[in-house]
């Protein structure tokens, strides 16, 4: 069954706004999604009804707060088909990537080792590892792209051939090109070349849009963020194999993550608490739990089907405009909903400003992927990214705005 977008849209308060008498057309969900009232209510409920701290409280209110927080974890684990003991809450996906960089990569890689990554990574999945490489002297290798913006697996094979690669960091879906990367296949290739190598996937742009099974992907780490999947800002998660987390040392330390503390030192709490120092984001965990419940009710297969249909229609609408070119694959089997495009003779900033003046929200700039921009020979792109609350009614304002930009700025 297709999604009834006009009805669904009513659950998103921001989308009812008008700007200068124009309907808000929100096409920037790859940067941050909107929030349904069910998520707002879940967070509100915590602050109005169950407000207290989690863990160690022996009074009922504290037990409620703990249930809300741990309930968020259980729901997210179920949503991603993972063991809840392997779900560590972080502030966002960036922190999840840093956890991997600090607690595993920096303690295991050194001179003579190599890690593999790609030229299309978001800075969140790039900087923590090149920073570690600078300090520790291991080599970072990058898979380049094919003509249509997919990872070149022949290049990957060559980069793996010497068996020195001990770690792979790869995004599941590109936030710029929309490319869906074959992460399960890459994980197999990496382990064939080196059985002990670990695989870290940045799932930021995948978890909101695709059915994701951490077990089926068979990777070691998977990072997500709440605010791109209908949840609040301020919460993300690192999903990992529990036995791997058990073997790792903590990233951040302090309260709640300890078992015992003496003047001389400490022992660590069980996973996942070992990686959650200090009072956590309780309302946000409740909100994220409500968000994944909401998505589960809608059905992730339907979410993906909606994305495929709408993205194909958007690509067709965009490429029908004279002077507009799309960056990235056009085959829907290997792409998600983020569409970066160029308008001949008009700078992305000017495209974005014109669209903004018509109530159409798109993102312009380098999208935190400067290495990718350099590979593509670009300084910036304009990017339209849809979600479940968008439909074909949003295409006309997008196309009209781009055509207006073309005539307004034509030299």
């Amino acid at each position: 069954m297709t999604i009834d977008v006009p009805t669904l849209r009513k659950e998103f308060p921001t989308l009812s706004r008008e700007l200068d008498g124009q309907r808000l057309v929100y096409l920037d969900s790859a940067a941050s999604s909107q929030t349904p009232t069910a998520v707002l209510d879940a967070m509100d409920h915590f602050y109005r009804w169950s407000r207290s701290n989690v863990h160690r409280g022996v009074y009922p209110l504290a037990e409620e707060a703990t249930d809300l927080y741990e309930g968020g974890r259980t729901k997210l684990a179920s949503f991603l088909d993972a063991d809840p003991r392997g779900v560590v809450f972080t502030k966002n996906a960036t922190e999840a990537c840093n956890l991997v960089a600090y607690s595993w990569v920096r303690r295991n890689l050194g001179e003579g080792d190599a890690m593999l990554s790609t030229v299309m990574e978001h800075h969140a999945n790039h900087v923590p590892f090149t920073y570690a490489a600078r300090d520790l002297g291991f080599e970072v290798r990058h898979i380049t792209l094919t003509e249509d913006g997919q990872l070149d697996l022949d290049v990957a094979r060559r980069l793996l051939a010497d068996g020195k690669v001990r770690f792979l960091a790869v995004g599941h879906v590109s936030n710029v090109l929309g490319t869906i990367n074959p992460v399960a296949e890459l994980a197999r290739m990496v382990r064939e070349a080196n059985a002990d190598a670990l695989v870290h996937v940045d799932g930021t742009q995948a978890a909101p849009h695709l059915p994701v099974s951490f077990r089926d992907l068979d990777v070691d780490f998977y990072a997500v963020t709440g605010h791109k999947m209908l949840g609040p800002t301020g919460i993300g998660a690192l999903v990992a194999r529990p036995e791997l987390l058990d073997s790792m040392d903590p990233f951040l330390s302090g309260g709640d993550m300890i078992r015992d503390v003496t003047l001389e030192g400490s022992t660590w709490n069980d996973i996942p608490h070992k990686f959650e120092a200090g009072t956590p984001m309780i309302a946000e965990a409740a909100g994220l739990g409500a968000a994944v419940d909401w998505l589960t009710d809608l059905g992730m297969t339907r979410v993906r089907e909606h994305e495929v249909a709408l993205t194909a229609a958007m690509i067709e609408a965009l490429t029908s405009i004279e002077g507009v070119t799309i960056h990235g694959p056009t085959d829907m089997a290997v792409r998600g909903g983020a569409i970066s495009f160029a308008v001949e003779g008009v700078h992305p900033h000017d495209v974005g400003a014109m669209l903004g003046s018509k109530g159409v929200c798109v993102r312009v700039g380098h999208h935190c992927t400067k290495p990718l921009m350099r590979c593509l020979g670009l300084n910036a792109t304009a990017r339209a990214s849809s979600y479940i609350y968008n439909d074909v009614d949003d295409l006309e304002p997008l196309v009209d705005g781009i055509e207006a930009a073309r005539s307004f700025f034509a030299r």
């Binding site: 700078h347 992305p348 900033h349 400003a353 014109m354 700039g365 380098h366 910036a380 700025f409």
Partner: protein
């Protein structure tokens, strides 16, 4: 909103920029400025004679605001004594932060950018060329011939 930001004078400079060229005969200074966050890039070349801005050209890639502002800047700055040019740059900079310009007549078409101050994310675009000429003059005063600046957020 579009009319507030993109006045006709600004669009004229964008479509037909003044003093846009990839080289300058007998240049004294070449500076390269970029706004990494929006990807604007600018090369500015300066020739000084008798302590005056004798030749000034810009080249680069960027949004209409950055390109038009640089074009208007060259008109306002060419021929001025370098100290006076720096004073005029400061007047433009203050205007972009919300002040009324003290020398509107000297800014020439530069005054058309006063409305850009209402769009904080675009202020850096308008300032790019002006910051580049200030840097070029200061580089000249230091006795150097080249300088590169990344304008971070």
């Amino acid at each position: 909103m579009m009319e507030d930001l993109y006045q006709e004078i600004i669009l004229d400079h964008y479509r037909k920029p003044h003093n846009r060229a990839p080289s300058l005969v007998d240049e004294d200074v070449h500076v390269h400025h970029s706004n990494p966050l929006c990807g604007d890039e600018m090369d500015l070349r300066l020739r000084v004679a008798d302590d005056r801005v004798d030749g000034l050209v810009f080249d680069g890639e960027g949004c209409s605001i950055s390109q038009a502002a640089a074009s208007a800047m060259t008109d306002a700055v060419i021929g001025r004594e370098i100290k006076d040019a720096l004073d005029l740059v400061e007047d433009f900079r203050r205007m972009m932060h919300g002040d009324d310009p003290a020398r509107p007549d000297d800014l020439l078409d530069g005054v058309a950018f006063q409305g850009v101050a209402k769009f904080p994310v675009r202020v850096k675009c308008a300032l790019l060329g002006w910051m580049a000429v200030r840097d070029a003059i200061q580089t000249y005063e230091r006795g150097a011939s080249a300088h590169t600046v990344n304008h971070e957020e």
